[in-house]
């Protein structure tokens, strides 16, 4: 377990922080922020592919079987240390997110945009055809 507060209470005033913690907040820049609908947005095709959700639990046969298989391969006797034979399972499970490999750094995000472009799905492209102002925004809970 680790908590990684950035900035240490001091407000960052330069690029140091900007590059340091961007990976975890890249969706803030890309999905939120002020949108001015008369302005034009540069194309971001392919970026979403980097945030593919590998963890979403949907009630599907595939998910159930994947979980069952992962459980079957778990060695409860071995304690907390993951036995090496588990590596392939875990790798398989998390590869969609690409998070583990790039945690804490932006390396991979921008560099792989080109790769992501090639792999971008039809769905992703469809989403980008919508004007920015019409894009779905997650629900905000306002505190009184």
């Amino acid at each position: 377990m680790s908590v990684v507060p950035q900035g240490g209470g001091a407000v960052a005033t330069g690029g140091g922080q900007a590059t340091g913690n961007l990976y975890d907040v890249v969706e803030l820049l890309l999905d939120r922020g002020l949108v001015i609908d008369v302005f034009v947005r540069v194309s971001l095709v392919g970026l979403e592919i980097l945030k593919v959700d590998a963890r979403i639990v949907v009630a599907s046969v595939d998910t159930y079987l994947r979980f069952a298989e992962a459980c079957n391969r778990l060695d409860l006797e071995s304690g907390r240390k993951a036995p090496s034979k588990l590596t392939d399972v875990v790798g398989e499970v998390t590869e969609g997110g690409a998070r583990g490999k790039t945690k804490g750094a932006l390396s991979g995000v921008a560099e792989s945009v080109a790769d992501a472009l090639k792999a971008s799905t039809q769905e992703t492209e469809e989403r980008h055809k919508e004007p920015a102002s019409k894009r779905e925004r997650p629900v905000r809970h306002r505190k009184d």
Binding site: T13, L28, A110
Partner: protein
Amino acid sequence: MPVYVYSIVSRSHPQNLDGLHGVGDPPSELRTVVGEKLSAVVSDAPEGLRPKRRDLAAHQAVQERLMADGTALPLQFGFTADDEDAVRTVLEERAEEFAERLQTLEGCVEYHLKAAQSEEAMLREILTESDQARRMNEEVRSGRGGPDLPLALGELVAKEVETRKDRLNAAVAEALGGIAREETGYKAAGDDFLSVSFLVDRDQEARLRAAVQKIADELGEDFDLRLRGPLPVYSFV
């Protein structure tokens, strides 16, 4: 000449951009478009701009500087206007709305929290705590049990995963909700079960950090909490 727009601030904001540069390669030069009451930080818009690391970082660095010196409305990455006049028009036409928002956000920063638990750790926990799941798992492994058993095991485990995720989300929301002015959820990806942004007053930052640390201590070493901030208030403009 199209301009890339970074942020909107009140005209009285220092707008000190020394040492910073804009998006593009070579990096563009930052300047301001000044309206009656508001200013916009802009640069020339590079042709064929793509969301590269350096561009995201440049966008972010501008917001961080403006945030350090006052209140700002950070634009979403990637917006360009036809020319400076188009920016000026927006500054005037929506002056009241922007000024009001700037006032509301005065003294506030954003914090973003992500929390993850490795899937292996979570499955291990479920098998340890649920007698039923463990029994079914053992049956499947031993080769006994019918062909439907893996599916039933998976369904049970999936349900447990969801329950745990919801429980953790609720616990975190409860622990931090009283500190933040507003909060807004993001879709958690990968191993993350939580991705949420908080709008906090600057004088509440220490309290937020301490509360997150406490949650982290309670959750234990299987969990990975990443608290990022103070950040520009992207999620609350």
